[in-house]
């Protein structure tokens, strides 16, 4: 401890009350101004202290403190005094009441999206203020632990600049992501080319943590699109965070002002919003046309309105079936759903249209959800509902294309998104339906894949693999028994099988799966894959992918079951 023992008085003015923070080179105390009866934070820096590059820090600390003293922003603590003694420097600054966001994350997990966006705007403003100082100040250490939430709901940035514990990395230094999860790529490797875009990156990761509750310092050590963790989150926010966290600074927002603008307009880049806008345009067209028509049918209409909806519903469905293109089909089905929102047929038609191009897109999903979610509670009373739920589950499982790119499959997302539908198919269906068993298996395979990462992390995964293996085998059996099963279903299943063997071979062994059993399944899958006749480019691709994994999978099994 330096001069500032608890109870001592610095500069005849600041009575040191208690230690509130400590770093390798500095300590922060809570102090009371005896004359003003006001609390301050006092940062004590030892002059002899050296940083990890073995450089004495105090000169740079004083320089920085003097610079920061000139700053004036509601989200920054003020520095009111800098006192220099022989061995120590004391920086007197605002004492900030409240809690760091890191603590809030620890205690309550992910934070509501609207709140996070509000916070993001505040942080953006203060960072932009720092960046536009002359010379610009780069914060470089944006993370939840450095942002205080005050009791009034506003934020303050703490610990900027002065004697920061971890400066630029030394070139040869190895570091672990377990401690560096928020850092931008350019902060590694010692070149130290940081600029405002570095803060944009760190802020992006901070928002990611706040809105998903996923700590970037913990496995899987990479950022997924936020809706991977919570599909309810905004697509607009997802895009903003993705753009902030691009590896190449050129691809990010170039300034916090730019990011702030995006945050103010995040809903406009939302898929949902874009859809709404499109719908508005389309509706306008319809209304304009309809006005002319309605003049003619106005009188007649009164009479016809009394007729039952039944004809209308059937008519719409017939029209949809006859329609030449998917857009018209979709429109007819959507209109039919409006007439009878808790009957399967129109939904089933809609799903079939969505699947027809082998991709169930996010926009299609929005259309579908908007219709069905409003009526779900009533719909579940309908004994046929489970049939639909099963079909929807399969559409997600095989065709949902959210997060899918040329070089990365979204298998896990697809499975996760389908679980609730299979769950419904099981819960609201009865055991005599022929899909009942299949729905149960899909649901359980999906749940396994959803939960296993966490269970591995908590080391509670043992025993999960054997039932999973049995489920995979059962599903293969069911699919192979059905002569009409389409190529997509078969190939996706084979792919999942290969993926599971490759990833969990060792775990299967530990859970007691016999080597001969795995090898037999692998052989059968190999043969069946080769036998599938593919008719579309997409399935052709999957087939090639599966065939390409044969060797790796084989090797994984060899390794897992190697005799010792």
């Amino acid at each position: 401890m330096g001069l500032a023992a608890i109870g001592s008085v610095v500069e005849g003015k600041y009575e040191i009350l208690k230690l509130i923070g400590q770093g390798g080179m500095s300590k922060v105390y809570l102090a009371m101004d005896k004359r003003l009866n006001k609390q301050w934070a006092v940062k004590e820096i030892e002059k002899k202290a050296r940083d990890k590059n073995n450089e004495i820090i105090f000169q740079s600390a004083i320089a920085e403190a003097n610079m920061i003293k000139k700053l004036d922003h509601p989200s920054l603590p003020r520095i009111v005094d800098i006192i220099e003694y022989e061995d120590f420097i004391y920086v007197i600054m605002d004492y900030i009441e409240g809690e760091p966001l890191s603590k809030i994350l620890e205690e309550y997990g992910a934070q509501p999206q609207e709140l996070v966006i509000d916070w993001a705007k505040q942080i953006c403003e203060v960072l932009d203020y720092l960046h536009t100082c002359t010379p610009p100040i780069i914060y470089r250490d944006m993370k939840p632990a450095n942002v205080m939430l005050k009791p009034d709901g506003n934020l303050k940035l703490i610990d900027f600049g002065i004697a920061r514990e971890y400066k630029e990395q030394n070139l040869a230094d190895t570091v672990s992501l377990g401690t560096k999860g928020y850092a931008a790529p350019e902060q590694f490797g010692g070149k130290g080319q940081t600029d405002p875009r570095t803060d944009v990156y760190c802020l992006g990761v901070t928002l990611y943590h706040l809105v998903t509750g996923q700590n970037p310092c913990e496995p899987p050590y990479e950022l997924y699109p936020i809706r991977h963790w919570n599909p309810q989150l905004s697509g607009g926010l997802e895009r903003i965070i993705q753009k902030c966290t691009q590896l190449n600074p050129e691809d990010r927002y170039q300034s916090c002002a730019e990011l702030l603008y995006a945050l103010h307009h995040y809903e406009e880049v939302d898929d949902l919003y874009r859809l709404k806008q499109k719908a508005k345009l389309r509706n306008f067209g319809l209304v304009a046309g309809a006005t002319v028509l309605s003049l003619g049918v106005g009188v007649l209409g009164q009479v016809m309105n009394i007729q039952t909806n039944n004809d209308d519903y059937t008519h719409h469905i017939e029209m949809a079936e006859k329609a030449a293109n998917d857009v018209t089909k979709t429109d007819y089905y959507l209109q039919a759903i409006d007439i009878k929102p808790t009957v399967n047929d129109a939904y089933l038609g809609l799903i079939a249209v969505f699947k027809s191009d082998a991709a169930f897109t996010v926009e299609e999903e929005e259309k579908f959800k908007k219709k069905i979610n409003a009526h779900l509670i009533d719909f579940r009373e309908n004994p046929d509902y489970a049939d639909l739920a099963f079909e929807v589950g399969k559409a997600y499982w095989y065709y949902y294309d959210y997060g899918k790119t040329g070089d990365s499959d979204n298998q896990i997302t697809r499975m996760k998104s389908s679980i609730q539908w299979f769950e419904d198919a099981v819960r609201y269906g009865s055991e005599d339906r022929d899909y009942y068993e299949m729905a149960t298996i899909y649901r359980d395979i999906g749940k396994f894949n959803q939960e296993i990462t966490l269970q591995i992390e908590e080391a509670s995964d043992k025993g999960q693999y054997l039932p999973y293996w049995e489920n995979i085998k059962a599903l293969i059996k069911l699919v192979d028994e059905n002569p009409d099963e389409n190529e997509m279903v078969k190939l996706e299943l084979y792919k999942l099988t290969m993926f599971s063997i490759e990833t969990y071979a060792r775990k299967f062994k530990l859970d007691g799966v016999e080597e001969s059993d795995i090898r037999a399944v692998m052989e059968a899958v190999k043969q069946n894959t080769n036998n599938v006749d593919v008719t579309a480019e997409k399935t052709e691709q999957i087939k090639t992918d599966v065939i390409n994994r044969f060797l790796v999978t084989q090797k994984a099994v060899d390794n897992a079951y190697r005799k010792i």
């Binding site: 390798g24 040869a172 230094d173 190895t174 672990s176 401690t179 490797g189 913990e218 190697r562």
Partner: protein, 255 residues
């Protein structure tokens, strides 16, 4: 069956201290020679990296002395892996706790190889040190648990790009600074004539696989004196080529 072994470590040309720790233990037992090689590459501010690496090496050294004898009598090799896993997790807790107390961040990689006669070979691994198996070819047995290693494995990056990436020294996990550590474990059966090499990343950045294979080929390494001399030669070559990291290497040959 006999085993020739040697180890060499050097502070290198830039760093003020050597944060690598290693140990090599050989015992004569009724099942033949038993060899334990452990290599840890410490990291951390204020040159406390060696605290982390030494702590892990000491823990495994103690395991060799105190627990291995009874495990050898039961020949329960699965149990050895279980114990290693426990030791790693325990060390992860203790080093993290020490770091919190001292207000520093420190951690270490861990790569260990256990040879039990000609029956059994176990490798345990966290981080970016490596185990090579050298016979006709040179084979890297461990995975590099680094950000760039993962990118390469997924086909998003080539090894050439990885070498230049600023994140090339960023580990996915290490002992002491990760919430969760999942070591890689590998089994094999040792074959007479094979050479096993453990090295920290400081040993392998500046020299080619070709150079390693030529220096450590089983036909060259005929006695411990030559092994040590060859190890020193490659370490010196690394230094000549301006490697800035600590450099460590462990060699074993099964004869």
């Amino acid at each position: 069956m006999d085993v020739l072994a040697t180890a060499y470590t050097d502070k290198g040309i830039k760093k003020p201290s050597n944060q690598d720790s290693l140990c090599l233990k050989i015992a004569d037992t009724s099942v033949g020679k038993v060899v334990l090689a452990v290599l840890c590459d410490g990291m951390g501010g204020l040159s406390k990296g060696e605290v982390a690496s030494a702590s892990v090496v000491n823990a495994f050294s103690a395991w060799f002395e105190e627990e291995l004898p009874s495990q050898l009598t039961t020949k329960d090799y699965e149990d050895i892996q279980y114990r290693w896993n426990r030791i790693v997790k325990e060390q992860n807790q203790r080093i993290a706790e020490y770091g919190r107390k001292e207000n520093i961040q420190l951690g270490t990689t861990w790569t260990a190889l256990l040879l039990i006669g000609s029956e059994f070979l176990l490798i345990g691994h966290v981080g970016d040190s490596r185990v090579y198996r050298i016979h006709q070819q040179l084979e890297v047995m461990t995975e590099d648990q680094t950000v760039v290693g993962r990118e390469v494995k997924r086909g998003r990056m080539t090894w050439e790009q990885a070498k230049l990436d600023p994140r090339r020294n960023v580990l996915l996990q290490c002992i002491g600074a990760s919430k969760v550590v999942e070591p890689q474990f590998l089994y094999s059966r040792p074959v007479p004539g094979e050479v096993f090499m453990l090295c920290t990343d400081g040993f392998r950045h500046m020299i080619t696989e070709e150079e390693i294979r030529n220096a450590f080929s089983p036909s060259v390494l005929n006695d411990e004196g030559t092994m040590r001399q060859k190890a020193i030669e490659l370490v010196e070559l690394n230094k000549q080529r301006q490697e800035t990291d600590n450099i460590s290497v462990l060699l074993m040959k099964i004869v």
